[in-house]
């Protein structure tokens, strides 16, 4: 089946929620068993397991947002995700795996913008009436993170 429209729509929601600071709604895009990881390209290349974020279930993903909302101090900014070259790699009736290139610009309170991060999403989506993310790995080319990474990408 053609899973591309469903994957594309889910990624659009994913980015829109992050960029609009709707982080709680972003969490709801994930399945209970979902994993979310941010992996430096150098670790991937050397087959090393460590990540920048390593969240292996939805509770940990939700905790990330709880910490940002209640405890963390980070740069005041706006993110803008640009996603392109979305490709479905494998798909059946239940799920689809995909890749997509991304870049994220960050803007500060004075309206100055910098390229924050580029990389590739490698993910898997549960299909159905309300598609959910089963696995989302952001492999980052910009693995020397500028200053800090608070909000998920």
């Amino acid at each position: 089946m053609d899973a591309l429209p469903a994957v594309t729509a889910l990624l659009a929601d994913y980015c829109a929620h992050l960029d609009a600071d709707r982080l709680e709604q972003w969490c709801e895009l994930f399945d209970e068993s979902a994993s979310y990881r941010i992996v430096p390209r150098e670790n991937r290349a050397q087959n090393l397991p460590a990540a920048i974020l390593h969240l292996t279930n939805k509770r940990m993903i939700t905790d990330r947002i709880t910490v940002l909302r209640t405890a963390a101090v980070f740069n005041i900014h706006v993110d803008r995700h640009i996603v392109s070259a979305i490709r479905v790699l494998e798909a059946d009736e239940k799920s689809a795996s995909f890749e997509a290139s991304f870049c994220i610009y960050q803007s500060d309170q004075e309206g100055r913008t910098k390229l924050f991060c580029t990389g590739i999403y490698e993910g898997e989506v549960a299909l159905g009436p309300a598609p959910r993310i089963l696995r989302q790995t952001a492999v980052v080319d910009t693995f020397s993170i500028p200053a800090l990474l608070a909000v998920p990408i």
């Binding site: 670790n43 460590a50 509770r59 940990m60 405890a71 101090v73 993170i145 200053a147 800090l148």
Partner: protein
């Protein structure tokens, strides 16, 4: 202005002789920064390069930086370590371009000059010319034109190097406290789990101050405070070597006072944050001394951390007066079970550029760096924990004394101590 003159001028700016005031200019002066590269990073110090576990086999190499100088660290065929400046003796090109690899020789791409694993020059193409014409002069001496070598020493698999020919042995440089601490962390064979990196937009010294600052832990990092990872109310303190070059801050889970209430009184909430999955807060004992948090720094460029079961080294690489990189090398032990590896990976969510107990540091350093630029007549204040003499041991956590220790050694090395300086 000559190099000596800038230090002589800045020497007069210290408002006090006990380093309880730090002129903001010291974070921003470009001439001072160039002098730091010479006197500190190319001076009589030992810089942290890597862990031996990153270059286990003969021929393995990694490219790194000592200060701003590109360096290759490698293991030779005989198993010994070597390090040399990664800059061709011919025209100054970077020789080894890859971040890591395995090689029996190192060849510059520009004119194919070839170097052995210890940096010695072994080949110059067309050295005798072509058909009797051209070529290098007869008296060209390959032995005198190798890559600049650094002295390398390793302690329990932690590799350090120095540019200085006259320098104390690594173990003497570290002193007994830091040597014992590295032996504690590396008490059995380790396994590299991966890397995190970040680029921070501030002066490198702000970071070395930050890691010595046990006062900020439970205040800036609310996560640390809420979950008792680091509170100023905990039983803990800091130790330094007699010259205050290096520093270890530690705490156990035990509270000296009711930490929750005292932090609340200080305006820091610690009951509003609850985690749905608290696995990353678990601690599996693996050190005999019961300490769950130790952060140590080795002058000038290294940090060694144990945050519960999350173990990592951090290498600082200055990139100009306004910027530095941090490279985190996360490791476990070779005999870790898969569950233990997973616990370490879960706990690594606490560290690095995105870490629950560290992301704030990148922001705090940038806030200081931005607001102090151009404020040449003003100084920061370091009075928490007391004024005057700088003790080697501090038995409480509401302290900035270790930061004064950093400056005392820094000033001595830079030849910019104030008159009557405390050591």
């Amino acid at each position: 202005m000559s190099a000596a003159a800038i230090c002589e001028e800045l020497r007069t700016l210290w408002p006090r002789d006990d380093y309880s005031r730090v002129p903001f200019r010291f974070y921003h002066d470009a001439a001072l920064y160039r002098e730091e590269i010479e006197r500190i990073f190319r001076g009589p110090t030992w810089s942290y390069l890597c862990l031996e576990a990153e270059i286990p086999a003969p021929g393995d190499f990694r490219t790194t930086l000592v200060g701003e100088t590109p360096v290759v660290v490698t293991r030779k065929e005989d198993g010994q370590l070597a390090a040399f400046v990664n800059r061709c003796a011919h025209r100054g090109a970077i020789v080894r371009r890859e971040a890591y690899g395995n090689a029996k020789e190192h060849i510059c791409v520009y004119h194919r000059w070839c170097y052995a694993q210890d940096g010695s020059l072994t080949g110059v193409p067309f050295r005798r010319g072509v058909g009797g014409k051209g070529g290098m002069p007869e008296d060209f001496d390959p032995k005198a034109n190798g890559l600049q070598k650094l002295k390398v020493q390793s302690i329990r698999g932690v590799v350090f190097a120095t540019f200085a020919s006259e320098v104390e042995a690594l173990e003497d440089y570290l002193g007994p406290v830091m040597t014992a601490h590295l032996e504690r962390l590396m008490h059995k064979p380790i396994r590299i789990l991966g890397y995190q990196r970040q680029t921070v937009f501030g002066n490198w010294k702000l970071y070395m101050e930050n890691v010595r600052d046990s006062y900020h832990g439970g205040l800036l990092h609310e996560f640390q405070n809420t979950f008792g990872i680091s509170r100023v109310t905990q039983v803990g303190g800091a130790r330094m070597d007699s010259r205050h070059r290096h520093h270890i801050t530690y705490s156990s889970a035990a509270e000296a006072k009711d930490g929750s209430q005292l932090h609340k009184d200080a305006g820091v909430a610690n009951d509003r944050l609850q985690l749905a999955d608290g696995r990353l807060l678990e601690y599996v004992p693996e050190f005999a001394d019961g300490q769950q948090l130790t952060i140590s720094s080795v002058f000038p460029n290294a940090v060694f951390q144990q945050i519960r079961n999350c173990l990592a080294t951090r290498q600082l690489r200055p990139r100009g007066v306004d910027e530095f990189d941090l490279v985190f090398t996360i490791y476990g032990y070779a005999d870790d079970t898969p569950e233990m590896v997973e616990l370490r990976l879960a706990q690594s969510n606490m560290i690095g550029p995105a870490g629950y107990i560290s992301m704030e540091d990148g922001e705090a350093i940038e806030l200081v760096h931005r607001a102090t630029r151009g404020e040449d007549g003003r100084s920061g204040l370091l009075e928490m924990g007391g004024l005057g003499a700088i003790p080697d041991e501090i038995k409480f956590r509401t302290s900035e004394v270790s930061i004064r220790g950093f400056w005392s050694y820094y000033a001595a090395l830079m030849k910019m101590e104030p008159n009557g300086a405390l050591k």
